[in-house]
């Protein structure tokens, strides 16, 4: 029975990470209509930047104080995103979707190799952060406090995002732009600014997901694409462009993944795609998707 409790916690931790990534992906799609193939690479960048800065600052800070490098990693990724949108992505809004997919695919290839160029092929770890928070007994079995904290961060991020999109003026502008870009522009909304901020916010969340994950796992090459494909499954199940969908999708996918890993490891990913395919057959726009 104890193992069930631990697996539920693991699944929630994974769901928090997946939600951050998928919500960013969905936000960018919802506002700009672009599926960002490089989204997983922003997540990987967040993981690498955080692990690298934690290792660099390890001597100067108390272990628990290294915690502040998590948001810093996310902010660094957001800044990169803010630089990329106007230069690379903006010329493609008026072009067919194939080209939008291709340019972000090119970005994926570049970013993945830049990571290899800067940090090399050896995995980076930041496990001292997990260690510094110690363990807690969950039903008689030890569990890292860090993971519990990060589940909290995931919930807080979901709440903050919801409040931001539905309860602030910027959120209103964002939703207006997402619904009808030309009408929003005609009403005097600076659409270009909304786009760049939405892209930056999406990148921030991907970077935050990477920053959260890296202390408990490690930053390795290829982590970006692996998570991108799973994030696709999440948004396909939840509905591309919907934040509620990203949340529900992340919970479903992480629960399913935990169950299959426990009982039927070979079919771990196959089961996920199967569920995604079934959802698409029954509800083509996903559980929470709007009609395109």
């Amino acid at each position: 029975m104890e193992i069930v409790a631990l697996q539920v916690l693991n699944s929630l931790f994974y769901a928090a990470v997946l939600f951050l990534i998928a919500a960013g992906l969905s936000l960018i799609f919802g506002v700009m209509g672009i599926v960002n193939m490089a989204h997983g690479s922003f997540y990987a960048l967040g993981a690498y930047i955080t692990a690298w800065s934690v290792a660099a600052a390890a001597g100067a800070f108390a272990p628990a104080a290294l915690f502040i490098f998590l948001p810093l990693g996310a902010i660094a990724v957001a800044l990169i995103g803010l630089a990329i949108e106007p230069t690379l992505i903006r010329p493609f809004y008026r072009r067919p979707e194939e080209y939008q997919l291709l340019v972000t695919f090119g970005l994926l290839l570049v970013l993945d190799d830049v990571i290899r160029l800067v940090w090399g092929g050896t995995p980076l770890t930041a496990s001292r952060l997990v260690d510094s928070f110690g363990l807690v007994q969950v039903g008689g079995l030890p569990y890292p406090v860090y993971n519990l904290l990060m589940i909290g961060v995931g919930i807080a991020a979901a709440a903050a995002l919801w409040a931001f999109v539905y309860r602030t003026k910027f959120g209103v502008l964002l939703r207006a732009t997402a619904q009808d870009r030309r009408m929003a522009a005609a009403l005097g909304i600076d659409v270009g600014r909304i786009y760049v901020l939405a892209f930056g916010l999406g990148c921030f969340m991907a970077g935050l997901a990477g920053a959260i994950v890296v202390p408990s796992q490690a930053a390795v090459l290829g982590m970006g694409v692996e998570v991108l494909v799973i994030a696709f499954v999440v948004v396909v199940i939840g509905g591309l462009g919907s934040l509620e969908g990203a949340l529900v999708g992340a919970l479903i996918v992480s629960a399913l993944r935990t169950i299959t890993i426990q009982f039927w490891e070979e079919f771990e990913l196959a089961a996920l795609y199967l569920i995604a395919a079934i959802v698409l057959l029954i509800r083509p726009t996903g559980l929470f998707g709007r009609k395109a």
């Binding site: 799609f29 599926v35 690379l88 010329p91 493609f92 072009r95 979707e97 194939e98 080209y99 997919l101 291709l102 340019v103 695919f105 090119g106 970005l107 994926l108 290839l109 570049v110 970013l111 993945d112 190799d113 830049v114 290899r116 160029l117 694409v225 494909v229 696709f232 499954v233 396909v236 591309l240 490891e265 070979e266 079919f267 771990e268 990913l269 196959a270 795609y273 199967l274 995604a276 395919a277 698409l280 057959l281 083509p284």
Partner: protein, 328 residues
């Protein structure tokens, strides 16, 4: 087909036929790789260029062809290339038919995501079921065990490699020509024209009474078969099939062929595949950061040269002709 185009095709064919006489074994081998990849690009472009569907999962069919050959050799002891082609086509057709049913219900982004996701399923299966597929070690398909033309030609002994390449080159060249001719017929047939009509305006095509879903599914099937055939021909050349060829970068490469050559063009993907093959071989030898270079090229291509090499060359040629006419 107009006369100039036919003359150009005949010229290219003659040059291709003469290559082994002038080039060494290594260069011939490289070109053989290029031709097999060109078949995959040809199949892929029936979807992207003519049907308007961007598949990010064509590694599935390429890998299905390759794995079908390797599994037939390992478990049934088959050695005949013709049987491999037959069995491999049946396998990749079955797979494309199945995946197609799911994928063609969607277009645009969802189509791309679905094709990618399904190809990743195949990759994980090949990777996890190592007792059947050999896992990351893959399955070997040594050329020395292969027989061509119904058992008439074989290559016993490991030193027969040069003889294998010079013979296999022509084998692939013949299949390649058949594929090009077939695809030419397909895209210029009423079926191909209907696909292009669907691509350009789905709503109008629907009002004309076209069963869009069925046409897209057929295009998906044909595309999968061509790409599967490319995988079948590729595997004896490579001597080994690993899960890598089912993994997403392989799909990315196939997309790259079409974009590099130009996908609004019949010959674009063919040229793109052959050039890409050389680019890959020489760039990997020159730099460790080949993927970075590839990504940069892709971004530059889609930003500044969306018509690709062949499309841009054709446009340049037309402008040149117009100028000539103006000055005459």
């Amino acid at each position: 087909m107009n006369r100039r185009r036919a003359a150009l095709a005949a010229f290219v064919l003659i040059v291709l036929a003469l290559v082994p006489a002038f080039a060494g074994t290594y260069q011939t081998q490289l070109l053989t790789y290029g031709l097999t990849l060109a078949i995959a690009a040809l199949g892929f472009n029936l979807l992207l260029g003519y049907t308007g569907l961007l598949s990010f999962g064509h590694s599935a069919y390429f890998g299905a062809g390759a794995y079908a050959v390797a599994l037939m050799m390992r478990y049934w002891g088959i050695a005949s290339m013709e049987l491999f082609i037959l069995g491999g086509i049946v396998f990749s057709a079955a797979l494309a038919a199945l995946f197609g049913v799911v994928c063609v219900r969607h277009t645009r982004i969802f189509f791309a995501i679905l094709t990618l996701a399904l190809s990743q399923v195949l990759w994980t299966l090949a990777y996890k079921f190592f007792w059947i597929t050999g896992g990351t070690d893959g399955l070997r398909v040594p050329f020395s065990k292969l027989t061509l033309l119904g058992g008439l030609v074989d290559f016993p002994g490991a030193d027969a490699f040069a003889r294998f390449i010079s013979f296999y080159y022509y084998y692939v060249l013949v299949v390649f020509c058949v594929c090009v001719a077939l695809m030419w017929l397909i895209v210029h047939s009423p079926f191909g024209k209907t696909l292009q009509a669907i691509r350009d305006n789905e709503t109008r095509a629907r009002f004309l009474g076209v069963r869009i879903w069925r046409y897209r599914w057929l295009a998906f099937l044909v595309s999968g078969i061509f790409t599967g055939l490319a995988g079948i021909l590729w595997v004896p050349l490579n001597g080994l099939t690993t899960p890598d060829i089912l993994y997403w970068p392989q799909s990315g490469k196939i997309v790259f062929f079409a974009v590099l050559g130009g996908f609004r063009n019949f010959s674009g993907p063919i040229v793109g595949a052959v050039i890409f093959n050389y680019l890959e071989v020489y760039a990997i030898a020159a730099t460790e950061y080949w993927q970075l270079m590839l990504g940069a090229i892709l971004i530059i291509l889609v930003t500044f040269l969306p018509a690709g090499i062949v499309g841009s060359a054709a446009r340049l040629g037309e402008r040149f002709k117009r100028k000539e006419r103006a000055s005459a």
